[in-house]
Symmetry: D2
Subunit: 343 residues, 4 copies
């Protein structure tokens, strides 16, 4: 009867608790596995700090946001007390036979190295930005899209009442999936993503065209989008040569520029941390539960070095190698497909 340690690492994501619950329920029932949770991601593993995890401790967790295990950005190799040797000792001391690491690219990368260094480790992919290539979707993404979509629905009505252009900034540092999906869902008139440059002229053309049809423009922008000329715009000197405060996010840079150029009153909203908190959508709970259940099969079959993933409607397994081969950004053709109806 194996003892399995679970950890959640990196940015918080709705569905983490559902993964934990799925793993514990199935692992206990089907395989007789026992579980402990490492606290605060890799930190708990490095320092050997654990909490017991049994059926009663995961009770009712599927609808809870966050992670009962806590999370941190500590890495197993970057931390001074980390390293495979130390971790092997901790596992030995705690009599933990295997590790389930739930995390993003950094976690998969560290897990791959730990596996190479002899640790019995498997993974569950997690990124709210949906930018892991090995899986069709990551849990948490759907919840973020839903929250952003509701925000667009709300902003649209107030934009219309005031005849304003509304700019909503959503998450997505390197991949624009949340902006793309929520923008489509909310009927945005322009969607700006890190992968695809658009000039200020082009954005203004879209905004003006919407206004000319008597509507209020809605622009959704991923936090990682940059105007070609944005480094200067983002600095303390504005396009007009006057000093201007350096602002928080790209929406707060974009909004005054759009207003200046188009003459349309424009307001920025930065959605922020709300996107990664709270109760997951049904879709994310199902995906997370299925991944959690499936990862116990991996453990039972000693499929170290692999993680579980979604392909179509199936849960499959992929090697850490394969999972890390590509960063999944929005493909040009998928962006172009929707871009034709902007404005």
């Amino acid at each position: 009867m194996a003892t399995v340690g679970i950890l959640t690492s990196g940015g918080d994501c709705p569905g983490l608790n559902a993964v934990i619950r799925g793993a514990v329920l199935k692992g206990e029932t089907v395989y007789g596995q026992r579980f402990v949770g490492f606290l605060d991601g890799w930190r708990g593993l490095i320092e050997g700090e654990v909490m017991p995890l049994d059926r009663s401790s995961v009770r009712g967790l599927s609808h809870e946001g966050g992670t009962i295990l806590g999370t941190s950005r500590v890495g197993p190799y970057t931390d001074p007390h980390g390293g495979a040797e130390n971790i092997a000792k901790v596992l030995d001391t705690l009599q933990v036979d295997a590790v389930i690491a739930i995390g993003g690219e950094g976690t998969a990368s560290a897990a791959k190295r730990l596996y190479a260094d002899g640790i019995n480790i498997v993974g569950v992919p997690k990124t709210i930005d949906n930018d892991l290539d090995a899986t069709d979707y990551t849990f948490g993404f759907d919840t973020a899209v839903e929250i952003a979509t509701e925000a667009i629905d709300r902003l649209r009505t107030t934009g219309n009442s005031h005849k304003r252009c509304m700019v909503l900034e959503v998450m997505g540092r390197h991949a624009g999936w949340i902006a793309l999906y929520s923008g489509i869902a909310g009927g945005a008139h322009a969607i700006l993503i890190p992968e695809q440059p658009e000039s200020l002229d082009q954005i203004c053309a879209w905004v003006t065209s919407v206004k000319d049809r008597g509507r209020s423009p809605m622009v959704v922008v991923a936090e990682g989008f940059r105007l070609p000329d944005m480094d200067s715009a983002h600095s303390t000197k504005g396009l007009d040569g006057f000093n201007r405060p350096r602002l928080g996010g790209v929406a707060e840079v974009l909004a005054p520029l759009l207003e200046e150029r188009t003459g349309i009153e424009t307001r920025a909203t930065v959605l922020g941390h709300i996107q990664r908190g709270g109760s997951p959508t049904g879709f994310d709970r199902v995906l997370a539960t299925r991944l959690g259940m499936a990862v116990t099969d991996l453990v039972a079959e000693k499929g170290w070095g692999h993680m579980v993933a979604l392909r179509g409607t199936d849960i499959v397994r992929v090697g850490f190698d394969e999972a890390l081969a590509n960063h999944k950004t929005v493909p040009v053709d998928q962006y172009q497909e929707i871009r034709v109806i902007f404005g």
Copy 2:
């Protein structure tokens, strides 16, 4: 420049308006197609009753439930004024070059026959029950799952307060997808679907086991589930030999039986039409919009006899033949996968 007629047929489904909007926006912009809408499904096509559909008429539709075209259960061959010959005449009179039929199995089946009879027709799959094999998911399904999941979340707290067993009946006459997904998402203790028989004894065992752990049992049942002995239970004579009123749905049959057998106070809720109404989830709006946009490609390429579908994250096209080859029910192994943690 083609004129294209759109119709929505069969049961209402969140996302229909988003399909219509996606088609009109892309068809107009990219292909210069013109659109009209047939009113109330096939009835409008048979009787030649149309409404104009242009950019302004689909404004802001992505978040609206229902269908602005109306729907009905009229069939193009079953209606006395139907038939391919008549329909061809109507299309000719209206100068409509092609038909986009948004509907379920019945619609696809009729469309296939119309195509064989020479009508330029393409399709968009629609079934809230998610039981079309050609596509990974149908729009509307995710919304129904979300609504059912929220209902489970609500019922759970009141079940716990009263120490009651709660039984929720959701849609699914022949396929248990909504029950399966919402049951997983809501952490149900038993999920009962049409595809998989379960005895009353088994269900009582799950319910009792939950109660024995000090929790309040939550049972999700698809409307199409039948107990092996349910025909008699469903009749006017109850198991105790006394007359009993014939009740509405399976939940209303199951609840008193569970209460009788387990001694646990049990309450039934039938979710009903709420599941197919209202604003679609972000997921469904994206899927519906993408399908609507893609079906205009089919029209532009004269891909008559095909429909668009979701495979993984891609929109693909499948022939009506293929789309109708199999009914997508919950596979035994996917049910068994989750069944192990019931109780």
Copy 3:
């Protein structure tokens, strides 16, 4: 330093946990009161079954539906082991100095008698039906209205798509507040409440008038509404003289009658237990928290025999006598005010 026992009695209601939390936080901090919770309402008090209640046990409770103390319909005088004498002994044994009873009319009535019999007891009014005269609103009511309103929003779109009349049954056995408020909020075309008789002819006239304007009628009916001729309709013999199954609620009786008489396809939905479960609205959380905090003032001042209540925006105190003097039903003039726009 007083020890205070809290109990929640009668039907579950969103906000109970927020009351408990408010009382414990303020009572501990301001008055140094200590708290225990009686389990399952009066049962826990009669049997002396308690759980500790301190700051950490009420952590994060404001947004949780249900009651962590459990509830039941046991009464302190109706139960064979009840009675003031026994209860006084239990309190003495447990060294509990005062009781906070959170409940509806029955609870207030019992509390009044216990107070007369010498028990140190104060109350917090609770009824999801909002029918207590002493307070402008009871917590839980706003949540129920919100849930019913969302259901109407959903049913409206599917009603429109199918050109159906939709009938929604909401809670309200003796008072039609939930129907009235959700019906107004949802823009219903007829609202039927227990307090106001309406003939089938009148309801059909409203429904037909809506249909004649090209819209889909939406009827909201409180569970306690009865047609003048409903006892017969509700029996096994229908108006047409044929046998007909006895159905669950008034909506299931009304819908076929409306369809029969008006010729408009009509569908019934019974919202049921969903209305009393799940996370409370912000309004209800604030009201419940304020009541919970205020009731500790009552305890500190030994204001036995009183309960806290909402008047305008103020929390006031009223004697159990006064609280029970009148049942708050929908006044005729308030119903007539909205009735003029039915149809």
Copy 4:
């Protein structure tokens, strides 16, 4: 048969459309009034730009956010083309007998002057900040509280996972009602409002105390709150003497200060325009509908110079004078009541 012109003025607010619908439905049905809508607030009145408003134009409006009439910040006396004389001419030309002005303090103030100048005008109070003394609540406020409460619920889970302090900035320039109510509802550990100064030391003490109990602090701050020492903090020089970018809102000033002082990682979220958009809550729709209906009574009775308002559960009428007498801020005692449980 009077013709009545309606206008909506000032900041957008959920429920405006429900007021318009309520007025038109009752005014037409009961009093035979005819309605037109002035576009974009006072601008439409000054320029005589109107849209027809009848039963069909207010169809289904109760659940729609925003205002179909549009709004602006134009004032009837501040605009060069304004003034009572000009407005009287416009009304005469359009044959409009009376004006219903839906707006906040500025609107009431202007309406009072127009009334003194002989215009037949009545009012409906509107302020999302709930700071009008004449009425217990204004519509839109409950929706804003609900949205802010949901945001707190989401931020709490992600705060817990990361062991961060979360700071949420909500609306409220001069009155802290939204912060107070959402903070209570969400179980915030500190609520900061414009009416009540709190020192950075005090806030840090609360935050630290929460952290010491092993929880993640949640701070809700109204946009109008200022630290005693905030002017300097808000400048380009931080407390540490180093240059620091001037940031958007108070949350963005407060968060780094809290992090610096307490050593707890802290994140700010500014909720912004989302709070005033989208579908109103049931409570707001009922309040708005009742106000809209009641204002037609005022018109019918020629109660010029009055507005309708909520007192307890009743809709009453108050003179513009009285309505403007006091600004309704959070009273010290109501703040102190909740402040005792901070930390």
